[in-house]
């Protein structure tokens, strides 16, 4: 690591203040940040640890909405969310226990790793992502690989998930990292079906609109049979070709629908 100063604000306001300084960066669970620092791939002057801010902790469930404070760990989401089982189970399958006990939903969304799980849930649920400044709809939040619409120093404070009638997340593990090689989150709200795909695309998490239309009319896995995913924009690496990923998108979508 390069040298940096560490700050541990106790309130949201102190944190925002600390982050307004040039060269400051938020540190949540550190599951992405710490390895990045160790490899000397980032050199913030100040790390602002938000782990001690109680305003950023906790889950509440009211009237068909699950609200998760940004600093809540995957482990807590997995163990406490009741009204949205697909979301709880997604959180419970991120990484290993150590990762789940440290990593946070805010960190995951802000990082927007193209293979991360939460972005698929947020996009499929059209979650509202609230920051210290504004509320952003998930549809406007993810801007491609590791890019979001957050401004410098802007902090996610809370994420609100409307609870669907039915939902399921199918994650096909990348063999080494066990992030999603392809993950598909299907959520059904009345006749509206949203299908969000992570891991597959060079543009990051996306909605598979053909599948959504097909499923809106016929919510069964056979509705997907006739569809094909265009391999063109898929990721290709040592773990799978474009066409392999395109295949997985289809297979995982069908399985998610079947499991709903």
């Amino acid at each position: 690591m390069y040298d940096f100063a560490l700050q541990r604000p106790q309130s949201l306001n102190e944190a925002i203040e600390a982050l307004s300084v040039e060269g400051a960066q938020a540190l949540a669970g550190g599951q992405t940040m710490i390895p990045t620092l160790k490899n000397r791939l980032a050199s913030p002057d100040v790390l602002v640890s938000i782990g001690g801010i109680s305003e950023l902790q906790g889950v509440s469930e009211t009237d068909g909405t699950v609200s998760i404070k940004a600093g809540t760990t995957h482990g807590v989401v997995a163990a406490t969310v009741e009204s949205y089982p697909a979301l709880a189970s997604l959180a419970g399958n991120i990484g290993d226990p150590a990762v789940r006990n440290r990593g946070t939903i805010g960190g995951s969304l802000a990082n927007n790793d193209p293979s991360a799980c939460y972005p698929a849930a947020a996009l499929a649920s059209n979650a509202s992502i609230t920051t210290n400044k504004r509320t952003i709809s998930a549809s406007d939040f993810f801007m491609g690989l590791f890019e979001t619409s957050l401004d410098e120093g802007e902090l996610i404070t809370q994420v609100d998930f409307p609870v669907p009638d039915a939902a399921n997340y199918q994650k096909f593990d990348q063999p080494a990292s066990r992030f999603a090689l392809v993950g598909v989150f299907v959520a059904k709200y009345g006749n509206d079906v949203r299908v969000a795909v992570t891991g597959a695309s060079e543009d990051g998490v996306f909605r598979w609109s053909e599948a959504e239309s097909a499923l809106a009319g016929n919510f069964s896995s056979s509705a997907i049979d006739g569809l094909e995913v265009d391999p063109e924009s898929m990721i290709e690496d040592i773990h799978g070709s474009r066409s392999y990923r395109a295949n997985l998108v289809k297979v995982m979508t069908k399985r998610a629908v079947a499991a709903c």
Binding site: M1, P175, A176, S177, L181, I238, S241, Y244, N247
Partner: protein, 787 residues
């Protein structure tokens, strides 16, 4: 089964230390005043160094010294321990292997410079400030084109071919002829995938120098401290043994990768001498990926000729073996003597010819990795047999049984130079069929089908040559070292025993199993015996642990030394009881005079040896301590039969291992629980190779799978509960314990079982796929299914 001594599943005493966080590993050692090393490593695969400017770096905070190749120009290179002679009688090409790059870098990770500083971060900061003027050269990656010509890894050699080895060269024409005239020839081209060993503990080296008496100490993560002392002292740094101590304390796994003498060890030892401060280097995991010797990496074509009844007539195999950029310590022996000699397998194939071309490429050096050559031999042979069975419509078990060497044919001389002493391959196969419940396969397959999954069964056999090795034989074959083992058995005055062995335990449980042998021989309890290893200053010169040699060679040395102890103790007992030594019997820790009720206890005899008041001083020296060196007469030949069942998801290509059964003949077994553990670990690694692990280089020579984010290790939940059995025992005929060694078997026997199982699943499921190269990742299996 006994509850103590040989045959007992005594609990691993070292676990008390390891599981309570009290293991003492090299990185736990901190020498007062030590400084830290960071190596500046090449980030290009191949390049010419036009200049290195360390000016700015040298003036940075905390920097004690910066070294480049120029500082090591006078120092010897890292030696290769085995000289292979090629088909034409010429010695292999042996390029220099500098400690720090001399003018050129040859793989990503090749050390260019080293910074020694007060803290690791300061050393890293300074390394970033070193300015290297590097002219990048094209990377030599593909072995076949490397041999054809073009860019050279080592300009002075004028070729990228290290050797072209033929074995047995005199059989070549006969083999060609047999294949030409055969009823049926099955041909298979395959890749044995390159692996990164990934021991849990990364390598560490600490150099310490005591200028007052000119003594150097190296603490290092090694499987064989005496070998390092000899190689580094004599060939690299010219430090005589009495001025050089090498200590390898607790070592967190080696799998071969910690046999070799590495540049970092020589660097830390020399830097400590030059700077007169202790110097410590701890590899990061990323560094381990690009500096630990890799394993396997063969590209092979094998042909098996059969007659109309399915009897094997001849085997011909051509292999390109990747050496990487330099010759690591035992690299050259792996694809030759540890590989070609195993091509008979468990079968009576009369004619065999093996050709191996060893090739230099711009990659990390490749050397022995758990099994070393024998997994590569087993894989190609057992895969081609499976393919032949499918082509001929024969049952894969039947075709093997037909060709087995039969029990009564031992000792059996193979056409590839080995003489198997014992074995019973029919018995292990019978046992396998029983423990793997092969009769129940069809029912299980139909359950899988209901779930939309394809079930397959993979069977294979293996034989290995281990208990390495007869020194005179390996000397003839090019080894530049002896391969005996040593033990000193020191009986303490009150009867407890300290054994100093030249072997080294880094997961093999010597501290538990070696005492079981002594306890049995003398009749005292195991906890009265302590095993000391890993320090050249207090153990006799031995060759260390690899090649499943510790119990077969090191254990034998310990037995010999203990026999000397017992012989002497009997003389003492005879004196005490006023009898003749020939009449003394040792049983359950008590000496008695045959035919009388006179007896004297072990403890009394030991005390007498050290308090020799009533003692035949005119005939016998006091004390009770003996050393023995044991040089085996032959290799040992563990063999077995493995079965793997898999389910393949045809939609995703994902393979799940449903069950894995292993029957191994290890001869006599000292501790069944420890043997189970060794087999479990070996199978896990073999499954890793078959399904997951792969060191992938791109054409520029960058290691694409250079972290655990992309290099897939097997994890507990990827594996079923193994069913293992070692009740089929044909004891080794030439060592005193009748043991064969069990450390590598699992890793040798399991990859073909897994791959055969997946192909069986696909073919039974209607997909006509004849081979998939390892690792059988979901995407590869899916691609094979989808043409």
């Amino acid at each position: 089964m006994s509850d103590k001594g040989i045959g007992a599943s005594s609990k691993r005493r070292e676990d008390v230390r390891f599981l309570s966080g009290n293991g003492k590993y090299t990185d736990d050692i901190n020498v007062r005043g030590q400084k830290y090393v960071h190596f500046l490593r090449s980030d290009v695969a191949h390049g010419k160094i036009n200049g290195i400017d360390t000016g700015e770096a040298a003036s940075m905070p905390g920097v004690a010294g910066i070294f480049t190749g120029a500082d090591f120009a006078e120092v010897g290179g890292l030696p290769c321990g085995w000289q292979v002679t090629d088909r034409f009688g010429e010695a292999m090409k042996e390029p220099a292997h500098p400690v720090l790059a001399q003018g050129k870098v040859r793989h990503v990770g090749d050390p260019i410079a080293a910074v020694v500083a007060d803290s690791l971060e300061q050393a890293r900061d300074a390394a970033e400030a070193i300015d290297v003027d590097m002219e990048e050269l094209p990377a030599v990656m593909d072995m076949k084109s490397a041999v054809a010509g073009g860019t050279l890894v080592h300009d002075e050699l004028e070729t990228n071919l290290c050797y072209d080895w033929g074995f047995v060269e005199e059989n070549k024409d006969a083999v060609d002829e047999a294949i030409k005239n055969a009823h049926h020839v099955t041909t298979l081209e395959l890749v044995n995938n390159r692996l990164v060993p990934n021991a849990m503990e990364p390598r560490v080296a600490i150099g310490d120098y005591d200028a007052s008496n000119d003594e150097s100490t190296l603490y290092t993560t090694s499987q064989n401290p005496h070998v390092i002392r000899l190689l580094m002292g004599a060939f690299v740094l010219q430090i005589p043994e009495h001025k050089l101590r090498v200590v390898a304390p607790d070592v967190g796994g080696g799998f071969g990768s910690k046999i070799f003498h590495y540049a970092e060890e020589a660097f830390c030892t020399l830097a400590a001498r030059k700077l007169k401060v202790p110097v410590k280097w701890t590899a990061s995991r990323s560094e381990a990926f690009i500096s630990d010797a890799h394993g396997r990496d063969h590209v092979t074509k094998i042909e098996l000729a059969l007659d109309e009844k399915g009897m094997f007539q001849a085997v011909r195999t051509d292999t390109y073996a990747n050496m990487g950029a330099y010759l690591s310590t035992f690299s050259t022996s792996v694809p030759t003597w540890l590989h070609g000699t195993l091509m008979a397998g468990n079968y009576k194939t009369p004619l065999i010819y093996v050709n191996v071309k060893a090739v230099f490429t711009n990659t990390v050096p490749v050397d022995a990795y758990r099994g070393a050559g024998r997994p590569e031999a087993t894989f190609q042979l057992e895969r081609v047999i499976d393919k032949a069975a499918r082509e001929l419509g024969m049952d894969p078990i039947e075709i093997r049984r037909k060709n087995f060497i039969q029990k009564e044919e031992f000792p059996y001389a193979t056409p590839v130079a080995l003489e198997y002493d014992t074995g019973d391959y029919v018995a292990t196969m019978d046992k396998l069929q029983e423990i793997a419940d092969l009769d129940g396969f069809e029912a299980r397959a139909s359950e899988s089908r209901q779930k939309g999954l394809l079930r397959g069964l993979g069977i294979n056999c293996y034989i290995e040559a281990c208990g390495i090795a007869p020194s005179n034989l390996v000397g003839m074959l090019g080894a530049r070292a002896g391969l005996y083992e040593s033990a000193t058995v020191r009986v303490n005055a009150t009867g407890s025993i300290t054994v100093m062995t030249g072997c080294h335990s880094h997961g093999q449980s010597h501290e538990t199993t070696f005492p079981q042998v002594i306890a049995d021989m003398i009749g005292i309890s195991e906890d009265q015996v302590h095993i000391q290893h890993g320090d050249t200053s207090n153990t006799p010169m031995g060759m260390g642990t690899y090649g499943s040699r510790s119990i077969a060679v090191g254990g034998a040395a310990m037995v010999r030394a203990t026999e000397k102890i017992i012989a002497k103790a009997k003389k003492i007992a005879a004196h005490l009881m006023e009898a003749s030594a020939e009449d003394i019997e040792l049983k359950d820790g008590s000496f008695s005079v045959v035919g009388t009720d006179k007896s004297v206890g072990w403890g009394d005899v030991c005390l007498t040896a050290y308090v020799p008041h009533n003692y035949p001083l005119d005939q016998l020296e006091p004390g009770l301590e003996e050393t023995a060196f044991y040089d085996p007469a032959n290799f040992t030949y563990p063999a077995g039969a493995y079965a793997c069942e898999v389910e393949v998801d045809p939609e995703t290509g994902k393979v799940d291992i449903c069950s894995f059964a292993a029957t191994d003949d290890f001869g006599n077994v000292i501790n069944p629980m420890v043997v189970d553990g060794q087999v479990h670990g070996g199978i896990a690694q073999g499954v890793g190779q078959a399904l997951r692990e792969h060191a992938v280089y791109n054409e520029d020579g960058q290691l694409v799978s250079g972290t655990f984010m992309d290099y897939s290790m097997p994890r507990a939940d990827d594996l079923p509960s193994f069913v293992v059995d070692h009740s089929c025992q044909t004891p080794c005929t030439h060592n005193p314990l009748g043991v064969k060694g069990c450390g590598e078997a699992g890793a040798i026997g399991s990859p073909p079982a897994v791959v055969n199982a997946v192909l069986d699943a696909l073919n039974k499921g209607g997909y006509n796929v004849s081979h998939i190269d390892m690792p059988l990742s979901p995407s590869r299996v899916w691609s094979a299914i989808n043409g």
